[in-house]
Symmetry: C2
Subunit: 367 residues, 2 copies
């Protein structure tokens, strides 16, 4: 039998689609209270323009097609952050900094990695354009925590990383040949001590500097004898200090996968019950026309990953028997009821998954 949908795509059905929309609304409302206003870029952009908005960002695995109107290649967005960067650099280029924007919408990929087969998902996020300072990161992390809490998540933890750590050390106290840096980063990310020892043994202590935040920080401070990382570590400490007791913190300074365009700071967000990260963020660089660069900080959440941890949905539905006057139904809706009207004499409360029956002017519980 032919599957209904191509691999990596799925329908969200009741009641999960309503629940996902509710989570999204709570996340965006949290961000709105911190001054983040929504931007809604289109699904489609010029492929070359979309790929050049984030420093070190690349347009990978986007669905592309030739526009019959412009004869240029268009891309369906695989990521919204690059679009927000474009908006901030162009249409809102004249706006005083920082600019705070939020967004929510679907993103699409041509292919997916084997371990994460989805080719479409909803990206919800916030971007603070113009700053990548410690106060900027503190705000962005606080908005993320507030959004997840508003969405009903518990057991929050944040795993910090320092995406440009190796590049910084390699350009300074621990020189590494430029052509070797990518391999070293990859092997450190994989915690492959043997390979790291063979390539650049001076970096070996970094493998041990991962884990619970305070321990990892102490090891990093001990490793950083030349104080090259001092400002980064002080920043991380300040961000961590600003978070409440309820958020567990870890540090994996050499984690790089998924943080390809982040600059000094990256973080992954986890919540109880989710099998994978529910979001990620960090600092990055927006490219303006003419090559000017602008600092930015932001995060994205994945509604489906959050939804997977949510409890059962309460569905109260009031059945209106066939012939119930329209104004009676309207009165019950005005009182907050979800009404389900019989449109034929034979319809039943059971068929309509009703929990209550309208009779004699009131709602009676059916179970």
């Amino acid at each position: 039998m032919t599957p209904l949908l191509p691999e990596g795509f799925r329908d969200r059905l009741p009641p999960h689609a309503d629940a996902a929309a509710a989570i999204e609304a709570r996340v965006l409302e949290s961000a709105r209270l911190y001054g983040y206003e929504r931007a809604d870029p289109p699904l489609v952009e010029y492929a070359d323009a979309l790929g050049s908005r984030l420093k070190d960002g690349a347009l990978t695995d986007a669905v592309r097609y030739v526009d019959p109107v412009s004869q240029r290649t268009l891309a369906i967005r695989p990521d919204v952050t690059a679009q927000i960067a474009r908006i901030a650099a162009t249409r809102m280029g004249h706006h005083p900094r920082p600019v705070r924007l939020s967004y929510a919408g679907p993103v699409l990929k041509l292919r997916s990695p084997e371990l994460a087969p989805a080719r479409e998902w909803r990206q919800i996020g916030c971007e603070l354009i113009g700053l990548d300072s410690v106060p900027a990161a503190q705000e962005v992390v606080a908005v993320a925590v507030s959004a997840l809490t508003a969405a009903g998540a518990t057991g929050l933890s944040i795993d910090f990383t320092l995406p440009d750590l190796i590049a910084t050390l390699a350009a300074g106290p621990l020189p590494v040949a430029p052509e070797t840096i990518a391999t070293l980063q990859d092997r450190l990310d994989a915690k492959d001590a043997g390979a790291v020892a063979a390539i650049a043994p001076a970096y070996l202590p970094l493998i041990e500097a991962a884990g619970p935040f305070d321990t990892a920080m102490a090891r990093l401070r001990a490793f950083d004898t030349g104080q090259v990382l001092a400002s980064r570590l002080d920043g991380l400490a300040a961000i961590a200090a600003g978070l409440g007791e309820g958020v567990a913190l870890t540090l994996d300074p050499t984690e790089r996968h998924g943080f390809e365009y982040q600059s000094w700071l990256g973080f992954s967000l986890f919540i109880a019950g989710a099998g994978r990260e529910v979001g990620r963020g960090g600092t990055y660089t927006v490219m303006h026309e003419g090559g000017a660069e602008e600092a930015a900080t932001g995060f994205s959440l994945y509604a489906d990953a959050i939804l997977a941890t949510a409890g059962p949905v309460d569905r109260r539905r009031l059945f209106l028997p066939f012939g119930t006057p329209a104004d009676a139904g309207a009165a019950m809706r005005a009182a907050g009821w979800v009404t389900v009207a019989a449109l034929e004499p034979g319809d039943t409360p059971e068929a309509q998954l009703a929990t209550h029956l309208y009779a004699d002017g009131e709602a009676r519980a059916l179970r």
Copy 2:
């Protein structure tokens, strides 16, 4: 200079994106109160499957690409209704009828007509699968009116049409050669009396039977000497009678454009201030596997068309001077304020479009 976005695509910026999202939320909440639960189908489907779900529906102007995984042609949805029909006929095929579903999301076209240049827009709608009766149409029209009212629209009017009118007459009392029916429908839709007189003069009175509802209905009744249309006209009269005084009604029985897959009933929705229709709906036929047909009724709204009529947005923003304690900001957000925190000493309320300043523990109006 190269335009930022391809023709037919646009960014929605603050505060309009928030306003559009608010309209959408109100529309969906209205529908939820009538028992319509959300379904969220993917952006992408198998092209052949998507094109075959609605009787007389065709997959026109969809963006298509070859899936590297399945090697089959996929289509980005140009319309959500066909997807809801697929869900109702397959995954929810076992669910008792009628099934009530709502949805909201972007749709995409490869090309656009010259007069309506958008190639992407948000479609919001409700579908009632299993019925196309008068009570079904009454409910669907009532949900549409309620949704538009909740979205803040005023001056509602509904223009009804009878999409299969010509086919019904041509198969009955006023025979027309099958190869001529499409031309006749087209010329009647264009109110081209000369052409209609040349093709099938018996249909000429239909051109005059368009306009204010009661007048048009009287002319149609007079035209329908053989009572072939009696059940349709009685149904229309019942639907009209169920609507309140506040909704203006017109009838254009031969309007066909945009109602290609509708069966006995179609309607367009208008509101004060919108230059074009803000939605449309009607009855249609869902195709099941094996060729079985199922009646359905629904409507779609276009958030942008509604938004165009909305008034200015009230943006109250409370500026928190640099160094304001985190718990002070949290207390103001808990009290309902949108806070905008200075993240640098030099930031100002003016730069952040703030209307209020936090000082001495309270919010002071700036203008």
